[in-house]
């Protein structure tokens, strides 16, 4: 199939990797464009997978290995698509890459980070800690290659890292690049962003230190996270004993995201097991409107709820306030099963925020149909550019893998048709 055009995959998360590998393994050339300095997407930031509660790294590792070993897959990191022109079978695509400042001679020795005098907020850990300007995104990052954050680096005036690097891997003069590609089909797998919890004024996120979000909770529990896997609350690094999860934080809410993200109930159930695993005396509360655990995932719900130190309370919490002395949080709501008022004090609150498609903020630079919320609509008439994974609907990994396989097939059809 040497004369066939390549397939462009935008986004190197679970969906993008799946589409890429599926297409490559049946003989098509693919190019992945990923805006982060690493592949893997949001899954790389999870501690464990529901329902099996295994580390997501094994799945990712397999995909990285297949990516590495396939001669048909090439990828750009720190890259975004700027322009698309043309039509199904023949697209001209302009890609813009940001400089990494560190080339592939990097062995991951960490010397640059040791000497770097500048710190930056660690976006991989959702701002829960800091890294140096020269950093490795996370311990198992693929590609295993350091990166320098150009927005904070002092540049040539400093260049301490250049001196200590034994492999001539650092080039502080690296420039942004523009690359043009000719491809036959495009799979848009740019994934999701957590809904901005600052918008939920009555929950005090950003204002009360101990109100965090579910994505932060994954990092807080991960062994390679900011607290090496101990659930220490942000205000005083105290081990938590009472944690409340608030479901539908900004979901199924006409003032925020009107839809259900489908996975947040399962994520909170899963995270309640983290709390219990890490501190057997701890108590967890899940406040919900109704628990949505669909299909066979209901078994997971049934299993988790047997834990007697987990209280499932049917109530949407109306207000969170902070006790300024202890930094504990006071939740108010109405238990709609007993009819009683709720006033519960806890150490830490986890907001189960939903998923917003990346295309709610950054659109595909081409004609593509979206629904009211910015998800890409899978339209049978729309040929050549296909959504894959959470860009189309909120889903778990099993769901996006299926969808991305389907998207790969459609992309192959677009390439073969011509």
């Amino acid at each position: 199939m040497g004369d066939k055009k390549s397939i462009l995959i935008v986004g190197g998360g679970m969906s993008g990797l799946t589409s890429a590998i599926e297409a490559a393994e049946v003989g098509f050339d693919v190019v992945i464009v990923e805006k982060n300095p690493y592949l893997g997407g949001r899954v790389a930031q999870l501690y464990q997978y529901f329902p099996k509660l295994c580390p997501p790294n094994c799945g990712l590792e397999i995909n990285f290995k297949r990516t590495k070993s396939s001669p048909r897959i090439s990828f750009y990191t720190l890259a975004e698509v700027e322009q698309i022109s043309g039509e199904e079978g023949n697209y001209q695509v302009t890609i813009k890459t940001k400089p990494r400042f560190i080339n592939d001679q990097c062995t991951g020795c960490n010397k640059c980070a040791e000497v770097c005098p500048v710190e930056r907020s660690n976006d991989f850990n959702y701002g829960l800690d800091k890294t140096k300007a020269a950093y490795l995104p996370y311990a198992m990052a693929f590609p295993m290659q350091y990166v320098i954050d150009g927005s904070v680096c002092h540049g040539k005036a400093c260049a301490k890292c250049v001196e200590v690097c034994n492999y001539q891997a650092i080039d502080l003069e690296m420039q942004p690049e523009t690359i043009t590609l000719n491809v036959g089909a495009i799979v848009w797998a740019a994934g999701w962003n957590p809904y901005d919890a600052v918008k939920l004024e009555n929950y005090g996120f950003g204002q009360y230190a101990n109100v965090i979000t579910n994505v932060m909770m994954e990092r807080l529990c991960a062994d390679n996270g900011p607290t090496q896997g101990k659930i220490l609350r942000p205000s005083d690094q105290k081990e938590v004993e009472k944690v409340a999860f608030i479901q539908c934080a900004g979901s199924r809410d006409e003032n925020h995201l009107a839809y259900c993200s489908g996975i947040c109930c399962l994520a909170s159930l899963k995270q309640s097991t983290y709390v219990r695993e890490k501190n057997p005396n701890a108590q967890a509360f899940i406040y919900f409107i109704d628990i949505r655990a669909q299909g066979k995932l209901e078994d997971f719900f049934v299993k988790v709820k047997q834990d007697e130190k987990l209280s499932l309370v049917k109530s949407k919490i109306a207000l969170i306030t902070e006790d300024p002395a202890t930094k504990n949080l006071i939740l108010e709501g109405e238990d709609t099963q007993s009819g009683e008022r709720i006033r519960e004090t806890v150490d830490m609150v986890v907001l189960a925020t939903g998923m917003e498609p990346a295309t709610a903020t950054v659109k595909v630079p081409a004609e593509v149909a979206y629904d009211d919320y910015g998800f890409i609509v899978s339209d049978q008439d729309q040929k050549g550019i296909y959504g894959a994974g959470c860009i189309k609907r909120p889903a778990d990994v099993a769901g996006v893998v299926q969808d991305a396989t389907g998207a790969a097939l459609r992309a192959i059809q677009s390439v073969v048709r011509r």
Binding site: N202, I289, S315, G333, E334, T336, Q337, S338, R341, I342
Partner: protein, 207 residues
């Protein structure tokens, strides 16, 4: 207080008691914004957002579930619908955009039309509040309070005044209340005409 509960989570609706839809239909037809309660998903946010939650016999959520359950008497004779102070906390937070305040007021008006009466306290305050609006076209806080206190009789009125003294001083301090009497708004007569007309249409007046 009556316990109002939704259908038990995970059950099939309890003892097989059929909900009577007739009162819900009556509300949808006759109560301003009444139909909006169809959107309510019983999450409880309005209940816990209400600053009067400790004073209300039923939270807005419970009122809506009682309507669906056909509990006409409980709803129309409830104090909750008469107590709503229009703070709008529930309405801004409701995830289903139910205009909770409007429904509560709609229900209060409907109850009055049906001959239900608010508590004497609530009615007295309503009369004095309305009297102020009618006379001035605005509220003169100290005047409403004074009339409301004295409406309890002279002795009790003075006692209430003393009890609320600090709040009054606070309001003066933060310029929420003036020492001098408020003057009527411009053209208060036209406002009165409008209010008279609304009242004649059954859409206004003191409770």
């Amino acid at each position: 207080m009556d316990q109002v509960v939704g259908p038990k989570y995970g059950s099939r609706g309890g003892a097989g008691k059929a909900y009577n839809q007739s009162f819900a239909r009556e509300v949808y037809r006759n109560v301003d914004s009444g139909e909006e309660i169809k959107m309510c998903m019983q999450c409880g946010v309005c209940a816990a957002s209400c600053p009067l939650k400790e004073k209300m016999d039923f939270s807005p959520r419970k009122i809506f579930t009682l309507i669906r359950a056909g509990q006409r008497e409980k709803v129309l004779s409830s104090q909750a619908i008469m107590l709503c102070t229009s703070c709008y906390s529930c309405k801004v937070r409701c995830p289903r955009k139910v205009p909770v305040v409007d429904v509560m007021h709609g229900l209060a008006h409907y109850a009055l039309r049906q001959g239900y009466k608010p508590r004497a306290e609530t009615a007295l305050f309503g009369q004095k509040f309305w009297g102020n609006i009618y006379r001035l076209g605005r509220i003169d806080e100290k005047d409403v309070a004074l009339r409301y206190f004295l409406g309890h009789g002279l002795g009790q009125g003075i006692k209430l005044m003393m009890e609320n003294k600090n709040m009054g001083i606070g309001m003066l301090w933060y310029k929420r209340m003036k020492i001098l009497p408020e003057r009527p708004i411009k053209n208060v007569k036209s406002l009165r005409k409008m209010l008279d007309k609304a009242k004649a249409m059954g859409k206004g007046g003191a409770v």
